[in-house]
């Protein structure tokens, strides 16, 4: 009695595409590929509570005071300024190219890999804002200040190493940072004029 050879019927796979489509659409909808971007900053460590309030003595020429009031108006060193001009102003302040007595002190510093460089070691940009300032205005100012540093660093990097700052090695980055250290101080908030 010869057995009849059973033929296994092939599974109809035409609907796998549909199933896969459904899954695909589900993941397409739930996916969020936005990579988060932002301005990276570092906050100063908290002031110890029991420490007496001592004002660190900083020479006036070493400080660039940037004020932002509750109407989002900018004042730099006592004079009103447009946000667009802040970057150049900050650059001039950081480098002090003419060795002006009103701008920060310039020191000759030996930087690894670059030799003697003129560095305004003690410069500080003091950014003060009102509680009523709009966040967008604040970010714009921060952005301009960071841009000033980034452009200076890029210029130096391409002059010394022939590459933009981001393409440098860690050691080279460190030397560049030594020439242009990022010093933006954010003072404790105060009320500057207007809305309470």
């Amino acid at each position: 009695m010869a057995r009849k050879k059973r033929v296994v019927e092939e599974v109809n796979s035409s609907s796998t595409a549909d199933i896969a489509f459904l899954l695909l659409i589900f993941f397409l909808v739930t996916t969020s590929m936005d990579t988060d971007k932002g301005l990276a900053r570092r906050l100063p460590p908290p002031a110890p509570k029991d420490a007496p309030k001592t004002d660190i003595n900083v020479k006036e020429r070493n400080v660039l005071i940037v004020l932002l009031n509750s109407n989002n108006q900018l004042m730099v060193e006592g004079l009103p300024l447009d946000v667009k001009q802040l970057c150049n102003k900050a650059k001039e302040f950081i480098t002090n190219p003419t060795n002006s007595p009103n701008l920060p002190e310039v020191f000759d510093v030996n930087v690894a890999g670059m030799g003697k460089m003129k560095v305004t070691t003690n410069h500080v940009i003091s950014l003060q804002n009102d509680r009523g300032t709009e966040y967008q205005a604040y970010i714009e100012v921060q952005n301009e200040l960071i841009r000033a540093y980034n452009e200076l660093r890029d210029d130096l990097a391409s002059a010394k190493f022939g590459k933009p700052y981001n393409a440098l090695s860690e050691d080279q980055k460190k030397s560049v940072q030594e020439v242009y250290p990022q010093k933006i101080s954010e003072a404790e908030p105060k009320n500057y004029g207007g809305a309470k």
Partner: protein
């Protein structure tokens, strides 16, 4: 004479679709791998400010988020139209930030803890008062690496 007439009765062979599922599956896997499920449901509305000097946040696992903005419409009746802070899934006061950061830090791997970054997603129309409060709270909590989340200016 009609060289181009279509009366020739040539029929197109049916397109072989047997590899279509494979194609779709490839796409599917791509999206499955790249997808990150939204972990929190947003209860505040915000449009991040615009800037140009942006840096990418590299490791998602090191980042903690703080949201601030006006409550969305469904919560407006309950919470009012004032700017509020959102931590994880609920509204919070500035006083709660410190605990929240401590909690988030504790849930991280120990070797990652020094690299913890706090990303502040804040609406661009927010007053700086509340932002300053958040910053002060973060300083107290020793979370000093922060980013102001922003979008690229066109």
């Amino acid at each position: 004479m009609s060289k181009f007439s279509k009366s020739g009765g040539r029929s197109m062979p049916a397109l072989n679709t047997s590899s279509l599922p494979d194609l779709i599956f490839t796409l599917l896997f791509f999206f499955m791998i790249t997808t990150t499920m939204r972990e929190v449901s947003l209860k505040v509305e915000f449009k991040v400010p615009q800037a140009t000097e942006l840096q990418k946040l590299e490791k998602k696992s090191l980042v903690t988020f703080i949201y601030a903005g006006k409550p969305t419409r469904e919560f407006r009746a309950k919470m009012g139209g004032e700017t509020r802070i959102q931590l994880n899934d609920k509204f919070a006061e500035t006083a709660e930030i410190q605990d929240y950061i401590a909690q988030e830090r504790a849930s991280m791997k120990e070797e990652d803890q020094p690299y913890m970054t706090v990303s502040m997603k804040i609406d661009k129309a927010t007053k700086m008062g509340i932002v300053t409060d958040i910053k002060q709270a973060l300083r107290e909590a020793q979370a000093l690496k922060i980013t102001y989340s922003a979008s690229m200016k066109q």
